[in-house]
């Protein structure tokens, strides 16, 4: 009896080995899950969008197309419009960033704080006007100014800027406001100048919120840019409208699906940028 392995240690060690094996298996499984989640995170959306475009292609190819449809749905045509669409979106987002972020910073400085409601009000007004109405307003406004072109890229970009001003402005202000005031006090208390506090602490900490605003603005702009064709700005809106006016469903659907795909793609890329630019440690 006494030569046997002491009974109290053997089950424990078996249990230990068992536990360790299960733990390892769980770790491996978790790793696998994590890798899979990462793959889906990075490649899920592009694959999905590619699939949608391919399905669209086969669907259109399976239809009997008349001469109008074949003329509208050429690759050259669609690519050109997509490029115009993207250009409009990117220009307007660039300019809105250039305007709304500094304004948001100014409006949150202690000295200008009291004007913040006015600034927010302006942004709200920009977004409250229907996008088509804003475009039309600008069109008529620019027509009276000889110096300004009333059609083409310029008025469309201006109106897109007006329309997507609010999300970026508001998110800049909110992003700056949500920075822990004690973090700022510590910075000031150690002798950082106001500019340094802004540049080294406030802005980096506001980046995630500001970028969320940029993402919203980009998606809004892709949608609104579909109206650009009305004022000679081009874009995928031309295809949609042609399909609508000529009662060609295939054309209409192609245009609409491409705008949606573009919006999702832009959102996806913006998401990656947001992830990249968000400071670590948050």
């Amino acid at each position: 009896m006494s030569t046997l392995t002491p009974p109290d240690t053997s089950p424990a060690s078996v249990g230990d080995a068992e536990r360790r094996r299960t733990a390892r298996a769980e770790d491996a499984a978790a790793d696998k899950r994590q890798r899979r989640a990462k793959l889906i995170h990075y490649f899920g959306m592009p694959l999905f969008l590619a699939l949608v475009v391919v399905l669209l292609y086969f669907w259109v190819a399976g239809q009997e197309l008349d001469s109008i449809e074949t003329r509208t749905l050429t690759l050259d045509n669609l690519l050109g419009q997509t490029q115009q669409h993207l250009t409009l979106t990117l220009y307007s987002t660039f300019f809105v960033l250039l305007l709304a972020v500094p304004l948001g910073i100014l409006a949150t400085r202690p000295r200008l704080r009291r004007y913040a409601p006015v600034v927010i009000g302006l942004g709200n007004a920009g977004q409250a006007i229907p996008s088509l109405g804003l475009l039309a307003l600008l069109f008529y406004l620019f027509r009276t100014q000889a110096a300004l072109p009333s059609t083409g890229t310029f008025p469309v970009v201006v109106s897109l800027v007006g329309y997507s001003f609010l999300p970026i402005l508001r998110n800049t202000m909110v992003g700056l406001d949500q920075v822990d005031r004690f973090v700022l006090e510590a910075g000031r208390g150690m002798g950082m100048s106001n500019r340094r506090v802004l540049g080294r602490i406030e802005l980096p900490l506001a980046v995630p919120v500001v970028l969320a605003g940029v993402r919203t603005a980009l998606v809004l702009n892709v949608g609104t840019a579909a109206l650009a064709f009305l004022f000679g700005g081009g874009g995928l809106g031309e295809t949609i409208f042609a399909g609508f006016q000529l009662r060609r469903t295939a054309v209409l659907i192609t245009g609409a699906v491409l705008v949606a795909v573009l919006a999702l793609l832009v959102d996806y890329v913006a998401g990656l940028v947001e992830e990249k630019l968000t400071p670590r440690g948050l």
Partner: protein
């Protein structure tokens, strides 16, 4: 000449003359009025903080203690009055340069969440334009000092640390450029009690080496007594109710307000201020284990003690023996009686000694030296006597103060 505005308390003045060394921070008639408020938050506060001391601002919430502290580095700009640091009037110099010379620790710590621990600590060295080598060396040194091994913590982000660890980083960051002055606003306020005690003790040990001049705000009188070389008890408007050493404040509160604020536990708090070695222990009836049993019995019978303390050959307390234990012969002496517990070392406080007395069966505390050898006995009477002596000494001191200060109209 007085270091206190409402100096109707002579001890404050005398304290000034008798004890204050070189002044490091001087506040002159410092006042802060916030717009839209009837009465000033801080009303003509004048105070001298001696070099190398911790001065604690303590008072009820809303008394203006934090505002007063934040005017020293001008996070809050004073409405009027002057701040003099190390002889230089800093009331109007560039606040950013001023602040780089003053360490600043706040309750919320305010570590930069997106910056690694090492670079958080290096904030002020970066501002001062230190080169990388010097900065890195200093950061590692400080993390070491506050008990966070640099190799393990330097590259972490604040959110990966516990509250206590973050506060250590906060202290390290404040000390980075070795400023002569530190401002601490309830630095241990948001930390659990056990960690707080540990951080307080660590900080006091650190201060023993560093000898910084520290203005420290708390609302907790116990913390004030523990941390302060000197305590300023503040009333509404930051008016100084009493500015004195913790002993003086506990023994002789200047007025009703101070007495109320210090609270009913003042005597118990005072016991924390006196060390066992400062009290004359009484003698016990002792016998050594290597002495003859008959000798011990005779010594016991001749005394009027009811028990004898048996010591081992190294004079360490072993057991309490009663008469019956000495008279029986069946068992060895170190096997009978009660074990002698309740021992205190000379550097323990009277508060510790009292606790031992209450826990031990004998109602006394045995004073032992570092090697554990018997030194004497403390009983409850010794503690009462020591409190009485403290009170008498203070009373004597104030009588002298009255005589020395004929302007004073307050009678003792």
């Amino acid at each position: 000449m007085s270091d206190v505005t409402n100096a109707d308390h002579p001890q404050a003045r005398l304290g000034d003359e008798a004890h204050l060394g070189e002044t490091m921070i001087e506040l002159q008639e410092l006042t802060k009025r916030f717009p839209g408020q009837e009465s000033p938050a801080v009303d003509r506060l004048s105070l001298k903080i001696p070099k190398g001391e911790i001065v604690v601002f303590v008072g009820p919430s809303g008394c203006g203690k934090t505002t007063s502290l934040k005017m020293i580095n001008r996070i809050i700009e004073p409405s009027s009055g002057h701040i003099i640091i190390d002889g230089e009037d800093v009331t109007t110099i560039d606040p950013n340069h001023l602040r780089r010379r003053i360490g600043y620790v706040i309750q919320q710590i305010g570590l930069f969440p997106h910056i690694r621990i090492g670079d958080n600590v290096a904030t002020v060295p970066h501002l001062l334009g230190w080169d990388k080598e010097r900065t890195d060396q200093r950061v590692d040194e400080l993390l070491e000092v506050v008990g966070l091994p640099p190799d393990e913590y330097r590259e972490r982000f604040p959110k990966e640390l516990s509250g206590g660890q973050r506060q250590r980083v906060g202290v390290a960051r404040a000390l980075a450029a070795d400023p002569p002055v530190l401002l601490m606003d309830e630095p241990f306020g948001a930390i659990d009690p056990i960690t707080r005690t540990r951080l307080q003790n660590e900080f006091l040990r650190l201060q023993d080496e560093l000898q910084k001049t520290i203005a420290f705000v708390t609302h907790d009188i116990d913390e004030a007594v523990k941390m302060g070389d000197r305590i300023a008890i503040l009333q509404e408007g930051s008016r100084v109710a009493q500015f004195a050493s913790p002993e003086e404040i506990l023994t002789n509160p200047a007025n009703e307000f101070v007495a109320d604020f210090v609270g009913t536990g003042a005597t118990l708090k005072r016991l924390k201020l006196t060390r066992v070695r400062e009290v004359q222990p009484s003698e016990a009836l002792t016998g050594r284990v290597d002495e003859d049993r008959e000798t011990l019995r005779r010594r016991f019978d001749e005394s009027d003690w009811t028990a004898m303390l048996l010591l081992d050959t190294e004079n360490r307390p072993l057991r309490w023996l009663r008469g019956t234990d000495l008279r029986q012969t069946s068992r060895a002496l170190d096997q009978v009686g009660y074990r002698a517990r309740a021992t205190v070392e000379p550097q323990a406080t009277l508060s510790d000694a009292l606790e031992e007395m209450l826990l031990g069966a004998a109602g006394v505390a045995i004073v032992i030296d570092r090697r554990g050898a018997y030194q004497g006995l403390l009983d409850i009477d010794d503690i009462i006597t020591s409190i009485q002596t403290m009170k008498d000494a203070q009373a004597e001191f104030y009588r002298a103060a009255k005589l020395a200060d004929p302007e004073s109209e307050v009678s003792a």
